[in-house]
Amino acid sequence: MSVALDLFSIVAIVAGAFFFFAGSVGLLRFPDSLTRLHALSKADNLGLGLIVLGLLPRVESLLGALKLLAIWALVLLSGAASAQLIGRALRRRGGDE
């Protein structure tokens, strides 16, 4: 059972790390700010979400698991709001940067 759980953790964490990688590549390579913003929000939501998912089988207490989920929820919330804020700021400036 623990081998299966470890395997699950590994798959989820590798997938999460991939999304962080993809987010960074997008941030560096995409041509304009709005597409970069798009790449960033994927890394925020999916990357951290998959890492949290992968770490869930390894926590010992219920509180620990709840904290992990709360961290993800907070990042989702603030990621969504700040993407909106940054997007608006870009549009105010003409979005041509």
């Binding site: 709360a70 919330l77 709001a81 700040s82």
Partner: protein, 315 residues
Amino acid sequence: MSVLQALDIGLALLVLAVAVWTIAAAEIFGAVVAYVAYGLLLSIVWVRLFAPDVALTEAAIGSGVTGILLVTSGARLNSAGKASAAAPPRLSLRLSAAALAIVAAAALAGVILTLPDPGPTLAPEARRELAATGLGNPVTAVLIAYRSFDTMLEKIVLLLAVVGVWSVAPDRFWGGAPAPLGRANPQGALVLLEQTLVPLGILVGVHTFWVGADEPGGAFQGGAILAAMWMIVMIARVSEPPSVNSRWLRLALIAGPGVFLVAGVAGLGMAGNFFAYPDGFAKPIILFIEAFMLLTIAATLPVLVAGPPRRSPKP
């Protein structure tokens, strides 16, 4: 070389690279952004030094609140003229400054490499008396019990800083309120964030304070998180910075050091020594003091960021 060592070296190089960028950035805004990134990286370094208490303080105050202080004041400076247009300093000045900096860094590095082994420590003393305080977190015990006098004076330093910031106000504004932190029409996303994040943040702040007795956390970290939440409320313009002669604000600013001082003097009567806590009651007293410190820190940091009064007092 193990994976962990490689991670440490990578982290160290990153911290240095971002610090160089903080100094070398062409614009002030880029420098502040780099400084915030630097604070984030530094808090990971603190975790690697087994100092989660410090990591939390660094993340909240060193990076978060200092970041907003500099962004806000940078914007206020910029709005009057381009502050970034400075002539580069003379080469001779730069060279001699670089030489001085290298000498200072090398001297410090030399000291670090020749530190005695094993290092001197007060950890056994801290461990010995920990049970008497009823606490589980030795850092909190040092802050509120062993070196309580220091911590109280540190609260007074905060108070002095508030007095200093307020006293640079022009006379005609005295008694008024600081300039608002946010812009006139807050965006919907900001208001939504304020409505959802702030209640959660207050919960986390109080939790951080409460677990601080036994785990990493405490009044400093919890207070800094609460302060950040209050600043989000002010940026979203849901509430405005209070005027400097508001009574409740002044009470909140002096509550921490005041209660601390009263508890210290009471120790003289109850336990026979200044700042001594009576046997068996140490933990409740410590938590009581910490609760007021939490309030004071949560009130002081936003007041410092908001700055001196900028509006005439209401008649």
